[in-house]
């Protein structure tokens, strides 16, 4: 799953399957909350189609329910969703060979979960076709829209899917993607260090800053530490060029080769 050997729509659809149970359980809950905030089914559908961001849709529902208007809701959402800038920037090199409209159509469906699956599958590689991404993103968004609309229609009749543990599908998927992605790297150890740093920083910052800004700050900080660490390790390895032939050195330098030549 971490390295798709197919660009096909179907392979993308299959890659979306781990996302779907989490989206359905959280989407149902989101729809119930949107409906109880006074949003209509049409409005719930449009939120899933156009805004398509779980956390942001919960916030919109909460603020609409509290009587807030666009003038306060829109800036809040802008702040909350700034992290997508990081996702799109990280994914952009893999989509360089696609037509502009194709890469934009892929960017449209970038959520936390879609980015996690995308970056895991395409890290360091360039896609030749958008079909895999479309298969993944359309499946994920369709399941999300369907779940929020059904949640809105059923209202409080919705069974509590959290009792089944389905709400835990998303954190478990984040972990699975982490493990699979890092094991495919030349230096998984450093990747785990960056993961841990990002996690500790995000939780710490979240205790003092609300919203998702802590995610952005923690991720940028941890990624900088990882990049500097890797760069320094390469600088230190350079003078003893013979070490590159050594298995222990080879592990550390397959990523860095491009900059050395």
């Amino acid at each position: 799953m971490s390295t798709p050997n197919s660009h096909s729509f179907k392979a993308g659809l299959i890659a979306a399957l781990p996302v779907v149970p989490g989206y359905i359980s959280i989407g149902l809950a989101c729809g119930v909350i949107e409906r109880s905030a006074g949003l209509s089914i049409v409005e719930i559908f449009l939120l899933g189609l156009l805004l398509y961001a779980g956390g942001a849709q919960f916030v919109v529902a909460g603020m609409v329910g509290a009587g807030a208007t666009a003038s306060t809701i829109v800036p809040t959402i802008a702040f909350l969703n700034l992290r997508h800038l990081l996702y799109a920037t990280a994914l952009a090199p893999s989509l360089r060979r696609l037509k502009l409209w194709q890469s934009l159509s892929i960017g449209y469906g970038l959520t936390d979960e879609a980015f996690a699956v995308d970056s895991n599958a395409w890290a360091g590689r360039e896609a030749e076709s958008p079909r895999w991404f479309w298969g993944l993103h359309i499946t994920a968004q369709a399941s999300w829209i369907l779940a929020t609309v059904v949640g809105g229609l059923l209202g409080s009749l919705v069974v509590d899917l959290t009792a089944l543990g389905l709400d835990f599908a998303l954190p478990a998927m984040f972990l699975g993607l982490l493990a699979l992605g890092l094991q495919g790297r030349p230096k998984p150890g450093l990747g785990w260090v960056v993961t841990g740093l990002g996690g500790v920083a995000a939780v710490g910052l979240s205790l003092v800053i609300s919203g998702t800004l802590p995610v952005v700050l923690a991720a940028v900080g941890a990624a900088i530490v990882g990049a500097v660490w890797e760069w320094r390790a390469e600088q230190l390895a350079k003078p003893t060029g013979a070490a590159l032939e050594h298995p222990a050195g080879a592990e550390a330098t397959s990523e860095g080769r491009a900059t050395e030549c």
Binding site: L51, V74, T89, P171, A172, A179, A202, A219, A222
Partner: protein
């Protein structure tokens, strides 16, 4: 039920626009530009850093507060998932292990 009120439509369109911009701009902006080596190096570490941040928040924060076991089951339920992730290297297996562990924990605790 099928209403679409102008004020709500304005909110939806505004919130969607400010979400679309960060989702789309980098794809347009980075087409003509080849990123320098240090930027590509940084971007390679963004996925594990983001996943670590998202995962830790999911596991340890409840309503914006740090909650540890036994009051919070999530850090316990992730352990079987971690074993499956490292041992079986299967994404769907990891998800099932996590969901199953959470179901069992909520049943008994």
């Amino acid at each position: 039920m099928l209403a679409l009120r102008p004020a709500i439509l304005l909110t939806i369109l505004g919130a969607s626009l400010v979400t679309l911009l960060p989702r789309l701009l980098p794809f347009a902006a980075l087409r003509a530009v080849t990123l320098p080596g240090w930027a590509e190096r940084f971007l390679r570490f963004v996925p594990p850093a983001v996943l670590g941040a998202l995962l830790a928040r999911e596991l340890f924060l409840v309503g914006g507060k740090l909650v540890l076991p036994p009051a919070n089951l999530a850090p316990l339920a992730i352990l079987p998932a971690l074993v499956i992730a490292l041992w079986r290297k299967s994404l769907i297996g990891t998800v099932l292990a996590g969901v199953g562990a959470m179901f069992v924990l909520r049943l008994f605790l």
